[in-house]
């Protein structure tokens, strides 16, 4: 093991910042995601609160150097709570002209742009659609431009290494990372350590990458590139062990934790679809936890197999996105009717139909609540942040097993790919889960639909249990016996029982929490992955003394018991969501006609800024704003 030496001596003034937002951008092949997540890890290790967001090109590979092929990674880090990856970047690294083109509108005025001049060849400019070189005309006047021939500097640094041109070229991302580490006062060591592990068998590559990383740092020092240096100190985060977690991995881990805590093997039936495939793929890496992953022929088979596994007494789950969710509609109805536990994850993307597979949206709420034929109530939950995907998945398992019901989790593309630090919970921070498994042979025979008087859940007798043989299915039932019946009273009673069971779960779920005073001018209600943007906006308004509060819903059906009461304290209620107004329609129907709405349906997440602006405007001219979005 050797030591890292970098130029430590620097005369530059260091400014302290509360938060900073940086972004790396380049071609799909430029290793952007790697350096982005390294920067995020390094910041987390320094104790910052962080939120990051990778952005991949749409699903078909665009030609190298084109705007469609740009890959980027943005991270916000701060000395206090950070809720989003940030609206505007304070610093952007653009590895080529296309990356600049794709990201320049997201850079804050006066922000830093480090541009790899080697990526601004005539061909690059043409592919990016630039008539002239933006680094040379005046078009970027409002930014701080730092042109650096990163490719060439990398080649210089590796002159003594025996690497191919291609290998050399591929190392340039670490040069950029080194510069940024200096600029934001991060430490290099964790990344070096990571490289050592990753390339333990390839010492040449390892040495080269470390060399380049250090060269980037040195270059920043020696070339006196930047007039200042920034420092973001540690945030007062809860004590504990942390790791970074994306929404998709969070869901996978939450399901496995549910399996451990319930003692039931996890069965996952899935079919690949963007942006949910990662859940399936992550789970395949946990076979040693007994996780059974079945890659089915389609989404119908995925959920059907999960229902079979659930009938067999496994903890069963499936995950998909919009088009796949639509295909699962019929089988979800069977899950409701059979009253089998099942967790169904919908990682929402832009719809309708194939829509925009890599873009985020919240437009499947209606479907989750109302998509099935017949009266088919079930539980709908939504995580607020990437890391919360873990907790929501675990909660979904708990509810599914306790109440013998399917539970839909509405995640989204933004949560799925976004990462944030997650404090690893201790073993006893997670409750035990007791499934409704029964082995007792009651007098008069087993009645599969006899309900627990408190939870209204039926008992779960699984094949293999002696003397509890019985049949279940999708036909209407007589009541406790589960015998097929077309009797009008039986049907009416069962429809009510199924609805009452789900409605009652509200008593077993946390109350909605208010951020802000419990009365005032505006209550903003949001759900799902928009939490960060809305919370940031509301807190900033609160700091400005505005009478604004925020409730973020994790339970969409049933609603938290205290929601109606919370709403009563406010003059105006505004529901902000990434659709044309779905939650707002439900709330209007359930609680009060007079609720305002703020919507965006563009495939992009909210920025905190646009919500702040909207609320400012709203406060200024409250009336006639309905359907303003």
């Amino acid at each position: 093991m050797f030591f890292i030496t970098v130029s430590a001596f620097t005369m530059k003034p260091t400014y302290n910042l509360d938060h900073a937002v940086i972004r790396f951008a380049g071609d799909s092949g430029d290793g952007i995601q790697i350096i982005g997540s390294q920067f995020a890890s390094a910041s987390a290790l320094l104790g910052n609160d962080i939120r990051s967001l990778p952005d991949f090109p749409a699903e078909i590979r665009a030609p190298e150097g084109s705007v469609g092929g740009v890959s980027s990674f943005q991270v916000q880090f701060g000395n206090s709570a950070v809720y989003t990856p940030g609206d505007k970047c304070d610093a952007l690294v653009a590895m080529n002209a296309a990356a600049l083109k794709a990201c320049v509108n997201d850079v804050a005025e006066g922000g830093i742009i480090i541009a790899n001049t080697a990526g601004f060849s005539e061909k690059n400019l043409r592919l990016a659609g630039y008539a002239q070189n933006p680094l040379e005309d005046k078009s970027l006047a409002k930014f701080n431009i730092f042109p650096v021939n990163i490719s060439q500097m990398t080649a210089h640094a590796l002159a003594d290494h025996k690497l191919s041109t291609r290998e050399t070229e591929r190392a340039k991302n670490f040069f950029a990372l080194g510069m940024m580490y200096w600029l934001y006062n991060r430490t290099i060591e964790p990344t070096a350590e990571w490289l050592r592990k990753k390339f333990s068998g390839q010492p040449e590559i390892l040495n080269a990458n470390i060399e380049v990383l250090c060269s980037g740092w040195d270059y920043a020092v020696n070339a006196e590139l930047f007039p200042v240096r920034y420092q973001v100190s540690a945030a007062p985060l809860p004590v504990g062990k942390y790791r970074s977690l994306t929404g998709n991995v969070g869901i996978a881990l939450g399901l496995i934790a549910g399996s451990i805590k319930s003692g039931l093997p996890l069965f996952f039936g899935g079919y690949p679809i963007t942006p949910a495939s990662d859940i399936l793929q992550t789970l395949t890496a946990y076979k040693h936890f007994g996780v059974k992953v079945f890659q089915a022929e389609d989404e119908i088979a995925a959920i059907a197999s999960a229902l079979g596994a659930s009938f067999g007494g496994n903890l069963a789950a499936t995950a998909t996105s919009g088009p796949g969710m639509s295909l699962k509609t019929e089988a979800l109805g069977l899950a409701v009717m059979a009253e089998l536990p099942l967790v169904v994850v919908n990682v929402q993307r832009s719809g309708p139909s194939t829509g925009m597979p890599t873009k985020t949206e919240q437009s499947d709420l209606f479907q989750a609540l109302y998509g099935r034929h017949g009266e088919a109530p079930l539980v709908v939950l939504a995580p607020a942040t990437p890391a919360e995907c873990f907790a929501i998945a675990f909660e979904a398992v708990r509810i599914a097993l306790k109440y013998m019901t399917p539970v839909i989790i509405l995640s989204d593309a933004y949560l799925a790919n976004g990462a944030e630090p997650w404090r690893i919970p201790g073993d006893d921070e997670l409750p035990d889960i007791e499934p409704r498994l029964t082995t007792e042979v009651p007098e008069g025979g087993f009645k599969p639909y006899l309900r627990n008087p408190e939870t209204l859940a039926r008992a779960w007798a699984v094949p293999g249990t002696p003397s509890l043989e019985h049949r279940i299915g999708g036909l209407e039932k007589q009541g406790a016996t589960g015998g097929v019946s077309h009797n009008p009273e039986h049907h009416a009673a069962m429809v009510k029982a199924r609805a009452a069971k789900i409605a009652g779960i509200a008593d077993d779920m946390p109350s909605a929490e208010l951020c802000g005073a419990d009365s005032g001018e505006i209550l903003v209600i949001s759900w799902g992955g928009t939490f960060g943007a809305v919370r940031t906006a509301v807190e900033s308004l609160q700091k400005q003394g505005e009478s604004v509060a925020h409730v973020h819903l994790r339970a969409l059906h049933p609603f938290p018991r205290n929601l109606a009461a919370l709403m009563q304290g406010f003059e105006h209620i505004v529901v902000a969501e990434l659709n044309s107004g779905q939650l707002v329609a439900v709330l209007r129907g359930e609680f009060a006609q007079n609720i305002f709405q703020y919507n965006k349906v563009s495939g992009q997440p909210f920025t905190a800024d646009e919500i702040t602006v909207f609320l400012h405007r709203f406060l200024a001219q409250k009336p006639v704003m309905r359907n303003a979005a």
Binding site: G47, P265, V291, P463, I472
Partner: protein, 351 residues
């Protein structure tokens, strides 16, 4: 990770012996009088106690259709699912619980029309379940529309001027999909039916058994040619492994191959003897496909019996093996929550 299921279910203890009587449930059997489904039910009921499997370890999974009501009529575990999805549900059940004896009950519409994809994927994966396909060449439950096994030109409620398409041959389809056990039998030949059910139960892997089943209401007599005493001997070819393909009331006809072309020859004239005939080999997919293709050919008797019986690893065993392998790695020794949450090299502490 302890597995709650293992702790509460029985593990092959001999105590749970049962008889046909134990299989009779409270619910009335509700098929039409004379429906071919009855004889399958009773043969299955007869077979189960002989399998050496506890009653509680048997599960029937069905789709939707007359035949799919079957699970209600047998006192084992049962799941009457939705139209066409029984194969997929059964796959999940078997992967979740490989120790169970899982049976799929389905109809020609259920398995081959709406459920065709799950059926072929089940066969491809070779999940160890037994598929009983009740083929009545009609949609019974919805009152008489044509199915993918109805005959070209057949007049039904939805084809007043004749069924416009050509039927699947379920056996050929199963062979093409990579089925490892593919057989056909007749509701009215109880002995053969019973024997085929037994063979299906004994096969490790997906057993695909097509059962010609008479629907007395909507397609009565569809198989009379093959079940009526008078015509059956001439019109049915029973396949038996290692035996020559002989048929006819007087066992005086046989199937011979001219290259790859099958032909019916008479054993009566003396020109041909049993030695000239095809000796059936249930391990040969080519022969199975060749014979299966005689199915709708009026010049040949209808082949019935085990077409193919070969071995291929079962899907659920592969899954189990991969899990066992993962468990036996060093990583596999720690399946605590903290091991789950660990992200070596990506963790940090805040103190």
């Amino acid at each position: 990770m302890n597995n709650l299921i293992d702790s509460i279910t029985s593990n092959g203890t001999a105590e749970h012996n049962f008889t046909v009587k134990d299989l009779r449930p409270a619910a009335d059997v509700r098929w039409c009088a004379g429906c071919g489904d009855y004889s399958v039910l009773s043969q299955v009921q007869k077979l189960l106690p002989e399998l050496g499997v506890e009653r509680e370890n048997i599960a029937f999974v069905s789709g939707i259709g007359c035949s799919s009501r079957f699970p209600y009529y047998i006192e084992t575990y049962g799941f009457h699912t939705i139209h066409g999805r029984a194969a997929a549900v059964a796959t999940g059940l078997k992967v979740a619980r490989p120790e169970l004896s899982v049976w799929v009950i389905t109809g020609d519409g259920d398995a081959l029309s709406i459920g065709g994809n799950h059926t072929i994927h089940l066969l491809r994966r070779n999940v160890d379940v037994n598929v009983l396909l009740f083929n009545n060449q009609i949609y019974g439950l919805t009152k008489g529309q044509y199915s993918p096994t109805s005959q070209h030109g057949q007049v039904t409620k939805s084809s007043p001027t004749g069924m416009p398409d050509y039927p699947f041959n379920p056996v050929s389809l199963a062979l093409g999909a990579g089925g490892t056990f593919v057989a056909r039998t007749l509701d009215r030949d109880l002995k053969h039916l019973g024997a085929m059910l037994r063979r299906a139960a004994d096969h490790k892997g997906t057993s695909f058994l097509e059962i010609y089943q008479n629907c007395v209401v909507f397609n009565d007599g569809a198989f009379d040619e093959f079940t009526d005493k008078a015509t059956k001997p001439e019109r049915v070819l029973f396949l038996e492994h290692g035996q020559p393909l002989i048929f006819g009331a007087n066992k005086d006809k046989g199937i011979r191959l001219d290259g790859l072309k099958p032909e019916v020859v008479s054993l009566a004239s003396g020109e041909y003897s049993a030695e000239d005939l095809v000796i059936y080999d249930e391990h040969d997919p080519t022969l199975a496909f060749l014979i299966a293709n005689l199915t709708y050919n009026p010049d040949f008797p209808r082949p019935v019996g085990v077409f193919l019986n070969v071995d291929r690893p079962c899907y659920e065993d592969e899954i189990t093996a991969q899990i066992d392998a993962a468990k036996s790695t060093p990583k596999g020794s720690n399946t605590s929550l903290q091991a789950l949450f660990a992200s070596p090299g990506h963790e940090w502490s805040i103190a």
